[in-house]
């Protein structure tokens, strides 16, 4: 490389002053250079932020079981939920989207709970011995009705209860949806 020298410092205030000319050039270079660099970055960031713009999945009405399929003694039974799922570009017909616990609370009355722990999103287990729901991740514990059992339970809210309907044939339809974990309120995702 040939010898390099920094530009000679010059002084003076006249418009033709090389230092001022240099400054304008430098400023223009930075502006134009910044602009041309910003365009591809902005285009990329906009696309990256696209998920923020997409709507929540919402709920789906799913036929899960029949009344006859539920134990009379009120013990919860776990059911997988199969529903149409759209994952970015693919539409999956009848795919597993989650699971619920269903238990009888009366002759035609049920309780439907989403199996996802509202603390951090793990699946809770029903422990028959203690007649409770227990989360194996961070030890959240819930009563059979879904309410928080112990004061030490880290979950911010009870298990998420879901709406249901029993049709004339006795089939149980569940309005299935998921909620944000870690929040005190039920926020649908």
């Amino acid at each position: 490389m040939t010898e390099k020298e920094p530009p000679e410092p010059t002084s003076g205030e006249s418009p033709d002053d090389p230092q001022r000319r240099d400054f304008i050039k430098q400023a223009a270079s930075v502006c134009v250079g910044g602009a041309v660099g910003a365009v591809p970055i902005a285009a990329g960031v906009a696309v990256y932020l696209d998920p923020l713009d997409k709507e929540a999945t919402g709920s789906q009405r799913v036929k899960v079981t029949s009344l006859d399929g539920l134990p009379d003694d009120g013990r919860p039974r776990k059911f997988s939920i199969y529903a149409d799922k759209k994952d970015a570009w693919t539409t999956f017909p009848k795919s597993p989207v989650g699971a619920v616990y269903i238990m009888r609370t009366g002759e035609k009355a049920l309780k439907v709970l989403n199996v996802v722990c509202p603390h951090a999103g793990c699946f809770v287990d029903y422990i028959a011995r203690d007649d409770e729901f227990f989360c194996p991740c961070h030890d959240s514990s819930f009563k059979k009705d879904g309410n928080i059992k112990s004061a030490h339970s880290p979950s911010p809210r009870p298990l998420d209860e879901l709406k249901y309907e029993i049709d004339e044939s006795g089939a149980v339809w569940v309005e299935f949806m998921n909620f944000l974990a870690g929040q005190k309120e039920k926020v649908p995702v």
């Binding site: 490389m1 270079s29 134009v32 906009a46 696209d50």
Partner: protein, 601 residues
Amino acid sequence: MKKLFDWLDDRTGYRKITKEALYEPIPGGARWRYIWGSTLTFAIAVQFITGMFLWMAYSPSAQTAWESVYYIQHEMKGGWILRGIHHWTAQAMTILLVLHLMQVLIDGAYKAPRELNFWTGLILLQLVLGLSLTGYLLPWDQKGYWATKVATNLMGLVPWVGDDLQRLVVGGSDYGHHTLTRFFALHAGVLPMGIIALIGAHIYFFRKQGIHTKKPHKKKDGMFWPDQVLMDAVACLAVLITVLVFVRMFHGAHLSAPANPAESFPARPDWYFLFLFQFLKYFEGGREILGAIIIPGAVMTFMFVMPFLGGWKLGHRFNVFFIVVLLVGAGYLTWEAMDADKRNPEYQAALVQSDKDSHRVVELARGLGIPPEGAVTLLVNDPKTQGPKLFAQNCASCHRYDGHDGLGNEPADPQSAPDLLGVGSREWLTRFLNPEHIGTTNFFGNTAFKNGQMVKWVNRKLKNHFKNESEMTDDELDDREELNQVIFAISAEAQLHYQAEVDAADFPDADDRKDLIFDSACIDCHNYEDEYEPGETDGPDLTGYGSRQWLTELISNPANPKHYGENNDRMPAFGEKQMLTEPQIGVLVSWLRQEWYEPGR
């Protein structure tokens, strides 16, 4: 603040590095002719940035590549701009490469002691072309799929190792998941890494020898910063604006229909490889290796030797002459290839069809969603897309559809069977029963039924039904109305979706409608609702006439007793002879009945 920078400088020495990077002296001052290297570096930077973001949304597999690119292009906010910038900057880069190379050769910047600089540049050129080639396949659309297939098949020409090489590049014996994973790894990993390393070396060699200036120097000496940098930035801005104009004009970049190995496509490489494509046409079978490998290899080898020749004045002139001839030749071949395509009606028709397909598949993906098997099945199962193709291949040698072969072309064989546009509909049956039409080529004119009972009956019995209404007597008007009712009743047998409303309105009671048919003269020769034993009548059964089942059975075997029996004219049993598969017949029937997805329907 100054303290902080001092601290940083103390540990990194950034001031010295910045000074070295920016204060490069330029004898004779900054000039526009020195911008090409910088614009190329800028273009590569744009590709790295946009490519990285595209990567976050792209999924390389045979069932998800097209689909994810579709999602970027059509569903993600600003996705088409991002994809467009990546696509058009790639095009711009090819042009900038040529301009940079030309400037280096004409100015003599490749001569000693800058050989290494020139050689790294030549390798970079090939790496960039490698990026173009690998990138072309990634959307896994018809265009990229078929063009790349030709390119990798040519790889098989390499002596001794061709087959193995091809298998390695393709990731197996045929195109599939591993072709994409390999191409993607090359495109986003291996080649960019090579480019970064070589650009580093290229710029280092450039700075080591200093800029090669063009004499005479018209201005006093200048500095890289800010004189040349400003010029470079403005040039980059011009490149970017040009790219954005194309992005806007083409709404991003074209995405043709999903790759389909069973659906031919006129394979053409992207425009910058067209000259090679055209060049290959000059080599007959068995000698393509000359055009595909040996000659391009020799040209490249010669370019590597150029710096040694450049030392002599004559050698330099020869080098410049060589590159000019090469570019003019490539330009001519490109023009020749484009011109041949322009004058090739089959190619043009294929392009129109491909455009239709690419538009249609987006419509289907949006309306029906993409199934897990991939978007290619959307088109394969779409009656609107496949119906005309099946009709053109299997039916149009005798039948017509609105006067053409289904695809809009005039078939070579003269029409010798009915025109099937709207078959079974009220309009179609009304024309069929009109003495002015039934004997024309649009119905029975060129068939064995030309002088059959049906034509005779229509001519004899219905000649007064189709007169001008103003010339009809009241009785004739009543007869005509009666005929209309029978026609509508039979047409309702077809259960055509586009007639569903009028069918329901005219015939609220199904039995009343059936009685109209039972009471008509049709039943003298045609069976209806098991009025006769099968085969007892000559004409086709009117039960479900034109319906899905009726048409399916007819196409499967027209000589079955329910349809034409022994009287069948020339129509083959497409189903029974396995000329068409069951799903294909289904698609054809749906198309004839105009049953397909239409947005907003």
